[in-house]
Each structure stands twice: as C-alpha cells, then as structure tokens.
Symmetry: C2
Subunit: 255 residues, 2 copies
C-alpha cells in the first residue's frame, strides 16, 4: 500500500501569498513535516498531525516523511517560500535516491510557492527585472571559497543577485566578506535591498548603497537583493522609492 | 485625484497557482492591461474592461496604464508568471521614471506570482535546489555578446540556469548557439529540462542530456532549465524521473 507525498511552499508568510494549490494539498494531507514556524502558518484540523522539527535536520525530516507516506499516509512536507529554492524538495529527492526502494514508487508532488526574493523584489519595484541569480550564503553546505568565486563571477556577468541565508549566529562574518567582494567588482552606488520578514506584520525594507551595506542590516529572516550596475532608484515624494533593473542593456556592462 | 495601480502575476497558467492576493487585486480593479492570453485567464465581470495588447509593446502599455490610473481609476497590469521576472514591473518603473510627474504620486503595488522556472522545477523535482540564475535569451533588449558572456560565467560559477524567452520566429538560432557555449563549459551528461506550458492542460516536459539538447525541443512557451554539473536524475519505475541539484557541494566544481 502506498501513500502520497506533497512538498509544498507556503510563500513568504503572508497567507494571501499561498496558492490555492498548496492549500488543497494541506487539506488532503494527514501528516505534516517541517520547521515549526512554517507549520504554525497552516490552520490544521484536529485530526491532522504536525511533526515539527528544527530547521537544520532536512535529511532526517525527509526520511521520516517518506517512511510515513510509504506506510500509506498522505503527507505534506512544508517549506516557507518555494520548496525548490534552498528548501525541502532537494532534500526529499536526495533521500529518495539514497533510501528505501519503495520510496521510488511513491507519488511525489512538488507544489511551487512564492519564494522570498520574488516577494522582496515586488515590495520595492522590480530589481530582478533583468538577468539575475540566487545564491545561498550559507557555508554549511558548500565551501566558502566556492561562494566567493560565485559572487565574483555573478558581478562580472552583470547579474542582479538575491542572497538567501545571509547570516546567522554561527555564520557572523560571511555577509560582510560578501559585500567586500562585491565592492571590488561593482560601483559603490549599486543598490542593496534588505527585505526582512516580507509580507509579514513586522516587514521591514531598507535600501543602502553597496558602499555602505554591512552585515548589521540583516538577520536570519532577511532576503538581500543586490542590484546590478544598471539598477536604478526612482525617488518619489511621500512614497517609498522604486528600485528596478531595466529590461534594456545597450552595451557590455561596465563592471 | 489619484487612482491606483496593481502589477500582478497570474502564475504560469494553472488557476490554482494564482495567489489570493492577485485575485483580490483583480476584483478591485476596473481596468486591465496586458497580453491577451494573460487577460483571458481572468474571469472579469461585465463592468471590468480588458485593454489587450500585443506582447511586444511593454512600454506603451505601461504608459497607457499609468495614464488611466492617474485619471483616478484602479488599474491592474497583468503578467503571466511573476511580474518582476522579465515582465511588466520593470516596464512600469521605467515609464514612471521617464514619464509624467504625477505618475510618481500614484500608489503602485507589485503582486508577486509563481514564475515559470519555479513551476517548471517543481514539475520535475528540484533542479534549482542549489545556487542558480535566470537569463532571458532574447537579444531584443541586450546584445547577444552579453548573453554569451553570461552563459559562460554562469557555467563556470556552477549555477543551474533557467532560460526565459528561449526562442521565437524572429530569434531562431540563439538557443542552439547557447547550447554550444554550454557544451564547451559543462559535461555532456548535464540534464536539460524543456518545460512547455507548465500547469496548463497541454503541459509537456522533456529531459535531454546537454550533448543532445537542441533548439527543436523548445518553442516560445517553453521554460528551459539547465542543471549544473552536480545535478542528478533519479530514475523510477512507472513514474517520471526526479531531477534535482543537491544542496551539498563538497568541493570546487569541476566544470
């Protein structure tokens, strides 16, 4: 007997940014695995069971969810944002590849969600309106030297950039170092957006020039967007500025 | 008297992937601007007016929407996917920057949506589960040489890649050339996903090795995801394979 596994994204936290498709998956599921703050966003019925876990146990959590789904239950694994962007979908795939043969027979459905960078970009205009990249600044899962190389190449390519996992208590200096690398490769005036808790009641957006950007502007709940050399700020009276990266690029980037 | 402007994303086409926030904006708006197939996705009331236009008139469309909103109407500008990713939000910001002073006094709200690459990734597993970039292959808005440089740098950086606007009648050879550049920089076995019409009734997903990928696999409605050298394919009996890029990277990429 085989159950079913959904891997869903709740979006950044505003319930109006969670899709009906994710909502349907929640209503169909009996068991829920995920980081507690994400599970707390769901309005579960009394007979639905939340299996909350710490944020740093993705592979154990994936295996527990697969085991339960294989026993015949309908299970949702829950990520904030989109489950495919630095989140649970890759962990589930990895667990299936290395795990029990019956896990390959499970029906697995990944339900996309609004990932943090899209909500952060929307909150200020369109800083990701041209080519861009998304980089996790966490060196828990890859060597820091790789991250440094990627930052340099992304700046040289003229990509706008979104940073996930920019800083934590265990990783205090990496973000400051990332800004140093970018300052060596991009104009000091390049716009940097610090979008904290986007879509949630405590949302806070700050825009700094790259030359003044530093790690004190961010915490674990911050998504950072670094513009390209082409990114523009449109000032407005009595309204927050709009930040956008033009669709057009007339010549080779200068950076 | 000042109106209001929403810039909304419908998601890739499956109505269950459009957020309640976008739906609320639609219900509040009197006038709608956008490419006709996107406007056709909305269930407008008889008193709501659709101003459909061709897909290649973004700036004119932006100005028309701003003019009407400034006259006091509540207007929605509609993109497929997410309005901030190769879509209308940047065009509206550009029109505001270069346009009438009163356009800077308008309340403008960008409502994020599920962008094509997230739905395409979800349909096959988690190919964007590690650092990645999004590149428009259209050389209508930037020189082709810039695109070539970006492809090379993205491959060297070890990014998975999503390609928007991969091909059109007016741009027949660019995608084939892009694959040539990638073949010079990535293993021939690298997974390439051609996701056509994701979330729509005619959805079609094909996975090819980079060495066999060519422009005949794509059309205007295709979002292409190119894995990194680390991307893996998990084969399953009687189910489509899962494609994912592992969260872990143990050393410098080989590519």
């Amino acid at each position: 007997m085989s159950g079913r596994l959904f891997i869903i994204g709740t979006g950044p936290g505003n319930p109006l940014q969670m899709t009906p498709e994710a909502d349907h998956a929640v209503r169909q599921s009996a068991d829920f695995f995920g980081y507690k703050p994400y599970l707390d966003r769901l309005n579960l019925r009394p007979e639905q069971t939340a299996h909350a876990s710490d944020n740093r146990e993705e592979l154990d959590r994936a295996r527990a969810a697969l085991r339960l789904a294989s026993s015949g239950r309908t299970v949702s694994v829950v990520s904030g944002g989109d489950p495919g962007v630095f989140a649970m979908a890759a962990a589930i795939c990895e667990a299936i590849e290395s795990g029990e043969p019956e896990w390959r027979r499970l029906e697995v459905t990944v339900v996309p969600g609004i990932t943090a960078m899209l909500a952060a970009a929307a909150a200020v205009g369109a800083p990701l309106g041209h080519d861009f990249c998304a980089i996790s600044l966490s060196d828990n899962l890859k060597p820091w030297t790789v991250i440094e190389t990627r930052l340099e190449l992304a700046a040289k390519a003229g990509f706008a950039m979104a940073f996930y996992n920019p800083i934590s208590k265990a990783r205090p200096w990496q973000l400051g170092r990332a800004f140093e690398i970018l300052r060596a490769n991009l104009p000091g005036q390049t716009a940097v957006i610090f979008a904290r808790a986007v879509g949630r009641p405590d949302q806070n957006i700050a825009i700094h020039a790259l030359q003044n950007a530093n790690e004190t502007h961010a915490d674990m709940a911050t998504c950072i967007i670094v513009g390209s050399a082409e990114t523009r700020i449109v000032h407005r009276e009595n309204l927050p500025p709009l930040v956008y990266t033009p669709r057009f690029l007339r010549s080779e980037p200068k950076a």
